[in-house]
């Protein structure tokens, strides 16, 4: 093979590598910046609800998540609860106008789950609140988040690390507490 021919084939290989690298970069850009799934559920929220703004105005978690101390699920407030304030508060804000739109169309807001447990594990909020576990232990510093984001990876190890430190450790280690 002549020198010229070998140079040409090397150039072809280089060009191939460059195209491959470009494709990989494009895929990475798509995954990281365009496809919302990789970023977590928070980006999918129909309204960019700002937790920080509400918490800094002194609104307690339980004002909206009313079920947290008496039922398995903390609950997402109804549009009615939102409108209780936002009929008068910050009505010019574009997100609030979107909220008002749902209210006027009498539609529920299709909020997206931030935390999802596997179907074979059952969590109950109420006993945790009763035992004095703060919301932040599992949900992170939501008061300083804008849109809520997952703060911890909710694995069995995460649950048991805390259960192991409790007084009634034996009872809290029973599989049947969470698995049925």
């Amino acid at each position: 093979m002549s020198l010229l021919a070998s140079l040409a084939s090397r150039r072809r290989i280089l060009a191939g590598v460059a195209v491959l690298a470009l494709v990989l970069v494009l895929i990475a850009v798509y995954l990281l910046f365009i496809n919302p799934d990789v970023l977590g559920a928070s980006d999918d929220q129909p309204i960019a609800f700002n937790h920080q703004a509400h918490a800094q105005n002194g609104i307690q978690c339980q004002y909206c998540h009313t079920g947290v101390d008496n039922s398995p699920v903390a609950g997402i407030p109804s549009v009615y609860l939102c409108m209780g304030c936002h009929e008068y508060v910050a009505t010019e804000h574009p997100e609030i106008q979107e909220l008002t739109g749902y209210w006027e169309r009498q539609e529920p807001i299709p909020w997206q789950r931030v935390y999802d447990l596997p179907s074979f594990a059952f969590f109950n909020h109420a006993p945790h609140i009763s035992a004095g576990v703060s919301c932040g232990s599992c949900h992170g510093d939501v008061a300083n988040m804008t849109v809520a984001e997952p703060a911890v990876e909710m694995t069995m190890g995460f649950c048991l690390d805390c259960h192991a430190e409790q007084e009634n450790k034996d009872a809290l280690y029973d599989c049947l507490i969470c698995h049925r």
């Binding site: 008496n70 179907s119 074979f120 059952f122 109950n124 109420a126 035992a131 029973d174 049947l176």
Partner: protein, 237 residues
């Protein structure tokens, strides 16, 4: 008061009419899959409660006898030591024989070792035809293919009652605070459910009983289901 629970079922065989209401209630409560005819012929039907029917006497002097059989929640359960993945496990807190579906790999050793034949294997992924798919209980997982399942004494109801402010999050619940689906459905009050470690509970007051017997008691399985023998109270002329 003891700290642990000992969930117990009493079956009064004189009251059981074999109506199968408990079986239906159990299917509805526990998302028990429904097998088709072909599968039932193969012995792959799933009913957490089975009503065994016996004929007593000779025609025309003949009586039908019914024996509801479900997981006996053995204190010394044959299914537990044979499970290689600890999916069949004993809960000392509840006195129950737990089945952790997420651990089960489907060896079916437990089902083979169970003398009561009350464990059921999911030979295929469950299908719930319309409108049954609309009434699945969200408190109970739907078991997938390759998993063993059985009566749990409605552990979801036990936990639901306990994990409420009224249940005080304590280990004990007051007698009558909870019923299993089958005891709730039983029209003749033949099934009585309660905590044997609670001296005030109805089951504690009924036991020991002259009529009591447990299934295959001689095997030493220590079942938590007590049968009150039939034919001694209200039968016969």
């Amino acid at each position: 008061m003891a700290e642990n629970n000992k969930w117990t079922m009493i079956v009064d065989l004189d009251k059981c009419t074999g109506c199968n209401a408990c079986v239906v209630a159990c299917h509805a409560e526990n998302n028990v899959p429904i097998a088709n005819e072909e599968e039932v012929i193969k012995g792959r039907g799933l009913h957490w409660i089975r009503i065994e029917r016996y004929w007593e006497g000779e025609y025309p002097d003949i009586k039908a006898r019914f024996l509801p059989v479900f997981c006996q929640q053995c204190g010394n359960a044959p299914c537990e030591p044979v499970c290689p993945t600890y999916a069949s496990y004993h809960s000392d807190e509840e006195g129950l024989n737990g089945q952790i579906y997420a651990r089960c790999v489907g060896t079916r050793y437990c089902g083979n070792n169970c003398p009561y034949k009350v464990r059921f294997f999911n030979w295929r992924a469950p299908e719930f035809d319309e409108p049954l798919n609309q009434q699945l209980n969200p408190d109970v997982p739907v078991r997938g293919a390759g998993v063993m399942e059985k009566c749990t004494f409605c552990i979801q109801r036990i936990q639901r009652v306990r994990q409420t402010p009224e249940g005080d999050y304590g280990p004990m619940t007051r007698d009558g605070d909870l019923q299993t689906a089958c005891t709730q459905a039983c029209p003749s009050d033949a099934l009585i459910f309660g905590n044997l470690n609670d001296p005030e509970s109805r089951v504690s007051r009924m036991l020991p009983n002259d009529r009591q017997a447990r299934l295959l008691e001689h095997l030493g399985t220590e079942p938590a289901v007590y049968y009150l023998k039939g034919g001694t109270t209200n039968v016969g002329e």
